[in-house]
Symmetry: D2
Subunit: 346 residues, 4 copies
C-alpha cells in the first residue's frame, strides 16, 4: 500500500487520476489538493464520486503533503507547478508530474518552445520521461516522472518502432492528430463551449504546438539522429479519445508482414499495446475508457509510404492512466494493477 | 466462483454484461453465445476486449450450456428468448433474463401489452422482478430473475418511496423519460443512424409503450392500489444515460425535509442509490458508466406538486449492471462486487 | 425597404437575427451594435459572414441609432436592455425586443418572478406580446414588440387551441421541455462547455423558471381563467432545437379527429404552423433551421389525457425568426418574407 | 426559368439538392424521382418540407423525364446511374451527375480504381469535371457535368493554386481529410449508427479510397505533370462538414505574403472561396450550411513545408450546392443565384 496525494485534483486530468486510484488495490488516497475547491468534498464537485469517495479537498501545504503522502501526482497549472515540484522532490517524495515542465532532456529545447526560462533545470537530469513502454527501466529508478500527454504518447508510440528499426526516412514524417475536447481541460473558454465545438472540426497551432518538441526528442532517440516532424493538432467533437494518423516514407520496399514483425518485436509482452493486424485500422472507441493504445497501419505501395494510425483515451493512457502505470512501475506493483479494464466501446 | 454463460453476448446489453463480468472476481465466463457471430472471437467483434477477453462465441446449445454454466444471463431477441428460458430453467440453471417476458405477475397484462400469448405462463409464478432494491428478499430465493430495463428502473425507483409512504395522489402521475440511443440496442434501423439522431430530440410510442405496464405493476404494489401513469419515452442525442422527470400531486402539503426523510428511510443502506439533497437536481453524467442511480426532487408549492428527477446509465443500472447485481444477490456475494466503480462523468 | 439596426448583434439571438436579415429582400441593415466587439467586422467574429456581410460593429449611441434606423431588434443583456428600450421607444423607433422585460401585462407578475422593480412599467401597456399567430392584430398596431422566447413559444402554441376550445382541464397541465444548448446564449460558463454538456441530460430551475409566468399569462388568456402550470426545462446535448411534451387532462372523452379539427381551425392559414396528423409525433430536426413549429398529439384513452408534442428551432421561431416575422407584420410585408426556407433536417 | 428534375431525390445529396432548388428563383421543380418512395410526398419522407414542397415522388421513366425536364440532377446509386445517364444525355437533356462515373478523363484510371468496365466510355469525352472555380469555361459549353464530391472539392481547391504556381514539390503531398457522417449518405449500415459513430474517430480505406484518383487527375493538370498523393479519409462525429489538412514541401523558401498572393490571384473574384488571412486557420462551422469553402495555411519554416487547411459543407459545396452552381453556369444565371446564404455557424 502506498499513501498518495493528488495535487490539482479537480482538473480533468486530476479527477481522472482520482477515479482510477479509487479502485486501485494498493493505494490509499490521503490528500486531494485543490486551490479552487478547498474545503469542499470531491463528490460535491464531481457527483459521480458520491458514496465512492467523499474526501474533502485541501489547500496546498507542502509540509502537510510530505507528512501524509509517499507519492504525489501533480496536475497543476503551468505557473504553479514549476515552484511546487522542486519542493516536493527535495522532500523526498515520489512525484509523477502531468505538466510539461520536466519532460525535456535539453533545457534549451524547453526554453525555445515555451518561451521562458526553465524553473529548475537541475531537475531535468533527474526526471525521466514517463512513456512506460519505452523508458520503463529508467522510470523504475527515478523519483520524478514527467508523465507524457495524449498527443505525444499517441504519436511517439506509433512511430518509435519504425524509426528504431530504421525502415522509414526521417525527413518527411507527418503526424495529423485529432483530439476530443477534454484534452483542453476544465476550461471556461468560449472556444470549448458546446455550441461552438459540436458539429465542428478544426486544426489549431499549426506548425507551432509545443508538443512537437517532445515528439521530436523521443523520435530522435529512436532514430539515433535528429528527427523533425510536422505535427498538426485538431479538435473534433467528441469528449474523449485521440487519433493520430502518421505518414512516413519507407526507405526500401517492405511488406506488411515485415512491418507487423517490427511492431510485434518491439511491443512484445506489452499488455497495453494492441497491434491491430494488417487489414484493419483502429477506431478511437476501441480504447476509450481504458489504458490501451491501438496501433494499425497500411502501406501505400504506389508511394512507398506507410500510414500508421494510433489511438488511445486522452485522459487515461494519454494522462491519468499512464500516470498510474508509472506509479505501478516505480512502486514495483504489477503494471496492470488498477488499469486492466477493457474499454467502454459504448 | 460461479461459471457463467452470456446468451446474446453481442447485443449491447449482452456485451455490457460481458464487460462487467470480465472484472468480476467471483465469475468465470464459460460460454458466450451469439447466433450472428458463432465461431468469432468476442474481441474481433468488440475490439475493446482485445487482450482482455478473447473467447470465441458459440452457437446456442442448451445441453452444452447446462453442462458448462451454473448461471446464465439471457439477452436474446424476443422471439428466441421465450423458447430458451423455459428449457434453461428446467435444467436447473440460474437464469437472469434481460427480456420483458417474465416481468409480469399477471399474464393478462403481458398479453394485453404485447398482443400475443405468453410462451410460458407457468413460469410467471416462479420468476421474480429483479429490481434489486425493492425485491431483494424474493430475488434471493429464485432461480429465474426477470431483470428490469432502463425506463422502468429509473421510473419505479423514483416514485416507489412516495407511493409507499402514501404522500402522493395516484391519479395524475406523469413520467417523462429521455433515453440515450444505446437503449435501442445494436440496430441498423435508419432511425438510429448518426445522421438522423444527432441534433435531434423526439418522443415516441406516446401513451403506448409496453414498459408502462411494468411501471404500473410495481407502482401499484407500492401504493397498495391500482396505479395508472402517463409514460412518454423520448430519444435524445447521447449514447448512454436515461433521465426521468416524474410529476405527482401531493396529497397534503409537505416540506422538503419530510420528503428527504421518506427517501432516506426507504433507501437506507442502499449503496447504489444516491439521494441528491434538496436544492440540487441530478444530471445524467453523474451516473454514466456506473451502477448508481441518482434521485432528486423539487416541490412546487404553488401547485402542491412534486417533481422527481432520476437518472442512471441505461446499459448498467438499467440493464447489465443490475443483472450482475441480481447475480450477486442470488449467489450470496456482496452486492457491490464488480460494480463499485464511480461513474465516468467525463 | 426598412433601415434596421440590431443591438446586441454578436450574441446568439442577435447574430441569428442578422443572418436572417442579410437575406431579407426588404431590409437594409444600417447598424450592428456590439459592446464587446466595437470596431470589429461582424465577419471577423462570425466568419460564416465573410463576403456576405462585412459590416463593422459600433458602440451603442441612441442618437446615432435613431438617425439611421427605423426599426431595431434589441437582443441586449438584461441589465442594459431596461434602460435602452424606453429611450428608443421615446425616439419613435419601432422596437422588437428579444428580452423578457416587456412581455408582461401585469407588472406584479414581472416583479414577483424577476425579483426586482420593473424599469419602465408604463411601457407594459404599450408593448405587445409578439407571439405572431396569437397576437397578430395587436402587433400590427404597436411599435414595441416583446418577442417571446423559445420555451414559451413552443409551450403556448401547443396548448393555446385546446384551452381556447375548452376541452382540457386547467389544473393539471404539465410542460416538460427539452432545449438545445444554444438556448443558453453565447456564454463561457463551465456548465455549457462541450465536455460537460455532451452525453448529458438534466433538468434545471425545476418549478422556478421565469418563463413559467409568461406561459401562464398567455394560457390564462386562452382559457379565460387563471391557469397555472408545471414547467420543467431540460438541457439536452444538441445545438439547436427545443421540444415540449405537454400533458393535460381532457374534460370529456374526445377523439383524435375532434382534436385535429380544433388545431386546424385555430391555426387555419398559418404558414409556419405544421400540424402533424394524428398517428405521427414530430421530431426536433423537422423544424431545425426554419421558422416552422410542428405540433402533434396522442390521446391516452386509458387516462382520458392528451399529450401534445411541439418543437421548433429555438434560435429561429423561438427567437430571431419570430422577431423577423414580427417585423414583417408591423411593416406590412408578407409575413413569410425572408423566412420561407424549409428546415435543414440534416 | 428552367424545368428541373431530381433523380434519386430522397438520398442525402438528392434531398439537399431539392432543398436548395425550392428557394432558387429560376427553377421549377417538375419531377422528383425516387425508386424507394414512389407515390409518396417528399414532405412525408422529409417532414422539413411540409408546406414548402409537397410534391409526390415518381418512378424513373426516361420519356416522362425528357418530356417534363430541361435539366436533371442525378444522385442515383452507382449501379443505376451508369445506365440512366447515357439515355438522358442522348435525349438532349442537360445532366448534372453527382456520381463518380463521368469524372474521369482517362477511362483506364476509372477502371483501375473502380475495378470494373466503364459503362459508357464515349461519354467521358463529353463530360466535364464540374469543379466550378477551375473548369468554369468548359462547364459553360457542356450538357453533362460530372459534379465532384466533398473530399475531392476540398482537397483540389486547397492545393491547385500552389501546384499551378509551381511552388510546391509534387512528391510528398499528403491530404488528411475528416468528414461528417452524412458523407456516407442515407444508409442503414451499423457502422453509421449513432451508437457506433458518436464519440468515435477513425480512418478508413487508407491508401485505397477511389477519390484519390480524382484528386490526382486534377492536381496533375494543375502541376503539368503526374502527381500522386496520399489521401486518408476519416470519419468524425459530426453531421455536416469536411476538413482537409494538406501537407506539401515547398520548392524554395517562400513567405506568407507570397502564398497569400498566389491564392488571391488564383481565386480572384470567386464569391464562394474564402481565403482566410495568414495567422488564422478555418473551422468547419464557418462554412456549414453554405456553399462557401474556406482555405487557410501555415508555413512551417523549420521544415520548409506548407500546411493548407480547407473546409466546406460536404452536402452543399461538396455535393448539392456545387451542383446548383453548375446549373447556374450552364444556364447562364448569376452563379450565386439561390446559393448566397451565409453559413449557419450555430
Amino acid at each position: 500500500m502506498v499513501k498518495v496525494g493528488v495535487l490539482g485534483a479537480t482538473g480533468y486530468a486530476g479527477i481522472e487520476t482520482v477515479r482510477l486510484l479509487t479502485k486501485h488495490p494498493e493505494v490509499e488516497i490521503t490528500r486531494l489538493v485543490s486551490h479552487s475547491f478547498e474545503g469542499q468534498k470531491i463528490s460535491d464537485i464531481y457527483p459521480n464520486f458520491d458514496g465512492v469517495l467523499d474526501m474533502e479537498c485541501c489547500a496546498l501545504d507542502i509540509d502537510d503533503i510530505a507528512a501524509n503522502c509517499e507519492l504525489v501526482f501533480t496536475a497543476l497549472p503551468h505557473g504553479v507547478s514549476k515552484d511546487v515540484i522542486p519542493e516536493l522532490y527535495a522532500k523526498g517524495l515520489k512525484v509523477i508530474d502531468l505538466s510539461g515542465d520536466f519532460r525535456y532532456n535539453d533545457v534549451d529545447v524547453y526554453e525555445e518552445w515555451y518561451g521562458e526560462k526553465h524553473p529548475a533545470p537541475e531537475l531535468l537530469e533527474k526526471s525521466v520521461y514517463g512513456l512506460c513502454e519505452i523508458h520503463r527501466d529508467e522510470i523504475k529508478k527515478t523519483t520524478l516522472v514527467a508523465n507524457p500527454g495524449c498527443y505525444t504518447t499517441t504519436s511517439i508510440m506509433a512511430l518509435y518502432p519504425l524509426l528504431k528499426a530504421g525502415v522509414i526516412k526521417t525527413d518527411n514524417i507527418i503526424i495529423d492528430a485529432k483530439s476530443g475536447v477534454t484534452g483542453a481541460g476544465r476550461t471556461t473558454k468560449l472556444d470549448y463551449s458546446f455550441s461552438e465545438c459540436t458539429e465542428n472540426t478544426l486544426a489549431y497551432k499549426v506548425a507551432t504546438h509545443r508538443h512537437t518538441s517532445e515528439i521530436e526528442q523521443e523520435l530522435s532517440i529512436a532514430a539515433g539522429e535528429k528527427v523533425m516532424v510536422s505535427f498538426t493538432p485538431h479538435l473534433v467533437p467528441m469528449k474523449r479519445g485521440i487519433y493520430a494518423t502518421c505518414y512516413a516514407n519507407l526507405k526500401e520496399s517492405i511488406n506488411a508482414e515485415e512491418i507487423e514483425k517490427i511492431y510485434n518485436d518491439f511491443y512484445k509482452g506489452e499488455y497495453f499495446v494492441r497491434l491491430v493486424p494488417h487489414g484493419k485500422i483502429p477506431e478511437s472507441n476501441w480504447t476509450a475508457g481504458s489504458n490501451f493504445i491501438s496501433i494499425g497501419f497500411e502501406i501505400d505501395t504506389r508511394l512507398n509510404r506507410i500510414v500508421v494510425c494510433s489511438t488511445l483515451d486522452n485522459l487515461i493512457k494519454g494522462a491519468a492512466g499512464q500516470a498510474v502505470q508509472n506509479m505501478n512501475i516505480i512502486m514495483g506493483y504489477d503494471e496492470k494493477t488498477g488499469l486492466d479494464m477493457p474499454g467502454m466501446y459504448l
